[in-house]
Amino acid sequence: MENIQKEARKRKVKNFLNTFKGSKMGMTGAIILGIFIIVAVIGPIVYKYDPMDFGSGADVFNPPSMKHLLGTDDMGRDVLGALMAGSGISLTVGILATIISMILGATIGVVSGYYGGKIDAFLMRLTDVFLVLPWLPLMLVLAAILGSSIWNIILVIGLTGWASTARVVRAQTLSIKERQFIERAKAIGASSGHIMFKHILPNVFPLIFANTILVSAEAILSETTLSFLGMGDSLHPSWGMMLHYAFESGAASIGAYWFLLPPGICVILVVLSFTFLGYAFDELLNPKLKGR
């Protein structure tokens, strides 16, 4: 019996993976993201890079060569090394900020949808505020007040990105709470907290999951924007910080494309890979979108 079940589960996972493999978008996204994750983890170990290793005057803005595969920056540091170190930081910030957003969005969405009435009205007006507030100025103000450490950036992005998730989760909660198994849960004497956590949350989870991936892309983009505008943490240089320095040092006018382009391209690729993955999962988890 146990075995049959294990088999069945294996088959389900296999089916899921097969369908996923069939999706070109999903696979492209997974491969690109996979490369970046591997680079972020292994890169700094394999490739020696020290952000404090300023070269001599002759090392400034060197074009790509055998010694520096992607050239050097305005302070004579290796661009490839900075890029690898930055990938870890950008991904970490993006993912952690997304987790904050998701926890907030899911909680507010489920609570709002489940209780309804005044609680719903209050939480949804709050959501509206966050939806219509121009997020960039808001983030800039928050980052300026809190100070530019990497944790504050994560917090700021997390706190501003939950509104759309809350909306979607609320809508789904409204539909789920009318189903009979919720009535059954009430009938067996389950408390509201128990119903929300054990019965509604697992049912909205696919939605949260698909949203997570899409919000991750946004979070990475937000981090890049903030850092580019100078709100980044200079101790943890991300791709956004690289773009910031490249811009400030006038890399574009000097023609130092090797300093300006790589971080930009990396941001685009990672955001694209998350978006691809998001669409692919959406298609997998939402049978209505499946092309038959």
Partner: protein, 321 residues
């Protein structure tokens, strides 16, 4: 003392169009170990009565009056928290169409364990063992407790639902059309099962159904409801063999008799009245073939005609075509 005593229960729904008097002055008693059936057309207040007893009414619904004495305690005045503790432990519910009553993403066994652990301070393993035993009790293989609801057939889900209803040894089980969504073979099995378990565990039961044959088989008493009121109530044999209310009479005739001659089943013309503005006098008068002048003006009191047999009709059983 009776286990359950419902006295003049009034449950109204406050909706935009007005106040729907879904249950309007319903009284009945139920002794320990007995079963009462509530019959009647759709929308006559059967389910609302049951949900009032569990206090599971939707937000628009409110108990406006009357008493529900369960074990001597008036449930109407109990706080939500007190009621929450009583649900399932004392009174459990078999849902109308068990198909949807299980959470699709949680294993069936888990959901039974959940019900046990909400009310009893037992370890997970112990609860799981009990869930296994409950499965055997309702004749499902024990190994299936780790299956998901969609892997069960309709009959199995209904059995699992019954297993869940029995999880905390309740004193009263309310069956809200427990067999409506099933085919006749499975219906018979489920009813036998319910009947057997009820006798073994000495539970009381309220059975809600449209099906008079189901009622005759399973219940000791029957209450015929129409437009939020009880029209006739009594021992099941007495009510079915000698219906005193024209509505009961019609209900019985609307049901084909398997041994009788081939005749067209009768139907009752018209529809149940709008309960926002119920008809004056007897609520059945505009559909009753024996209606008299007084029926339009004065609402009949419920009166005892013989032992264990009461009716709310001015004719007191003297309506013959």
């Amino acid at each position: 003392m009776s286990l359950l005593e419902v006295k003049n229960l009034k449950t109204y729904f406050h909706i935009k169009a007005g106040v729907v008097k879904a249950v309007d002055g319903v009284s009945f008693t139920l002794d320990e170990g007995k079963a009462i059936g509530l019959v009647g057309e759709s929308g006559c207040g059967k389910t609302t009565t049951a949900l009032s007893i569990m206090k599971l009414l939707p937000p628009e619904g409110r108990i406006e009056g009357g008493e529900i004495l369960f074990d001597g305690v008036n449930l109407v005045n109990e706080s939500d928290e007190e009621i929450r503790k009583k649900r399932w432990k004392d009174i459990s519910l078999i849902f109308q169409g068990a198909m949807n009553a299980f959470n699709p993403v949680i294993r069936v066994g888990e959901q039974i364990i959940e019900a046990i652990r909400i009310h009893e301070d037992v370890s997970y393993d112990e609860a799981r063992k009990r869930a296994g035993e409950l499965f055997e009790l309702v004749e499902i293989k024990k190994d299936l407790i780790d299956r998901y609801p969609h892997e069960f057939s309709g009959g199995m889900k209904q059995r699992a639902m019954i297993a869940m209803a029995l999880a905390c040894n309740p004193k009263l089980v309310i069956g809200d059309e427990p067999t409506t969504a099933l085919d006749v073979m499975i219906q018979a099995q489920i009813l036998d099962l319910l009947e057997r378990l009820r006798k073994e565990m000495k539970m009381s039961m309220i059975l809600i159904t449209h099906d008079l044959s189901v009622m005759a088989e399973t219940c000791d008493y029957v209450a015929v409801m129409y437009a939020g009121k009880i029209m006739e109530i009594g021992k099941v044999e007495k009510v079915l063999e000698n219906p005193l209310h024209p509505y009961t009479d019609k209900l019985i005739k609307a049901f084909p008799d398997i041994h009788g001659e081939k005749v067209m089943v009768e139907s009752i013309p018209g529809v149940p009245p709008n309960l926002i503005d119920p008809p004056s006098g007897c609520r059945f008068h505009d559909r009753c073939h024996c209606a008299m002048e007084i029926c339009k003006i004065k609402e009949p009191e419920i009166i005892q005609i013989e032992d264990d047999h009461k009716v709310a009709c001015h004719l007191r059983g003297n309506c013959h075509e």
